[in-house]
Symmetry: C2
Subunit: 294 residues, 2 copies
Amino acid sequence: MNFEMHLKSVAGDVETALSDLLPEPRGHQAVIMEAMRYATLGGGKRLRPFLMIETVRMLGGNLDNAMVAGCALECLHVYSLIHDDLPCMDDDDLRRGKPTVHKAYDEAMAVLAGDGLLTLAFELLASEAAHSDPSVRVRLVAELAKASGHSGMIGGQVVDITVVEGERDERLITELQAMKTGALIDFSVRAGGIICGVDDTALEQLSAYARDMGIAFQIQDDILDIEGDVELMGKAVGKDQDLGKATFVSILGLQGAKDRAKALGRAAKGHLAAYGDKAQILCETVDFVLERTH
Amino acid sequence: MNFEMHLKSVAGDVETALSDLLPEPRGHQAVIMEAMRYATLGGGKRLRPFLMIETVRMLGGNLDNAMVAGCALECLHVYSLIHDDLPCMDDDDLRRGKPTVHKAYDEAMAVLAGDGLLTLAFELLASEAAHSDPSVRVRLVAELAKASGHSGMIGGQVVDITVVEGERDERLITELQAMKTGALIDFSVRAGGIICGVDDTALEQLSAYARDMGIAFQIQDDILDIEGDVELMGKAVGKDQDLGKATFVSILGLQGAKDRAKALGRAAKGHLAAYGDKAQILCETVDFVLERTH
């Protein structure tokens, strides 16, 4: 099976697991379960659960654990998309080719469905299905909270919406990216290591791989915002450019950004050298991130 | 020391602990730390942390653990207030006598500060300061997620904003209250039992106390919405009445509501009979809830 077929196959498994783990609409509050399912199911590359699952596969760990923890992470990722799309934030109407939650429902339901998915993420991570050892589960909870909180993903979103244009240099947008998207990509891979009980040295190597790939991923995102096709992307493109926002492309130039992404991709793979052939899928993931067109 | 002085003294300790546990403003995202502190510090009866601390005191457990877990719960409670106050929800301008977060900052920061406090709640519960035993910490995380999620507090808010007036009978508003405010009050007391490692029978008794008091608390809230003083309350009053919303008062009548609250208060205290004098503060808390004027 080639890489893209494998990615699609895992995404299909993640979709099935998410459908089982998300609450079925019931009770007088059924509408919020519907909105949570609407936002989460039916699409997405599921890159974060994929990274967690493939890290656990590389390390020879329990794939059922990885699936549940990966679904928890996906719920958290989807919550962040719902809230980022709100009119008071990025004000987007389209996500994964469908109306955003506040368009399909309303703003109140978008706020609440996001809150519900964030809360569900921690409920899933704390459940025995995520790991038999409570000390592993509580570490996953602690690390996800840190990665997604005020010094991680949320902090990055705050920087993105508040820092004025004149202050955006390469250092700042690297810091912003490391928080806004990097911290969760780092968690995707680290969580795999935590589930498998690897030592701190191995965990640091996994993080180094994730960090380099995370920046490469963001650079490619910025490139796609210039070169991407709105139909393939399933969301608006050219938005950062229209807003005059500094991106890796506006700072490094298009070719400079492509070169930087390639160098980071090589570095990312280098951190997994110790795993030899077992690291093949995680290395192909780097290539996929760099070559993706949406 | 009489009860009100004791409540104030504990609230002062909670304020100090919250100030230590909340992040100091720093980095390019400092504004969100400021908003999180603005919303959380400087007021409130801190009833939920108080219940947790006093349950642990009654059971002879570790009060440092109770303080950290109580602060986590207070962060979660404050997040729910911030999001409930948003223009797309209850659209309130005043909270604890101060402008609400979306008034003092803006809507985006109110959404994000709420998200940040929700995430911080789980980070604090998962930290060693909440308990030395990881299996206790992960149980606290799991129970708080359940109490505050789509089948608990968030579910109750959804019912409150979506169910039309004709469907609001006593059964529905009891169910709504049990989710919207009851689930967290239940958790306040149960968490005390979990921290102290009591058995399931004792935990069920604690829950029964919390459930009866929780409904009494909501009935008194509805009474205060009619009889309360806007200056004492620090928020708008008469709002449910103006909106024509069914409440315990509109269904049971003012005297009927007062009688019901008293009966529930007696029942709540009855569940703690086994603890004798040690339950004095938790019993006085019931009286306080029923007699409070704000």
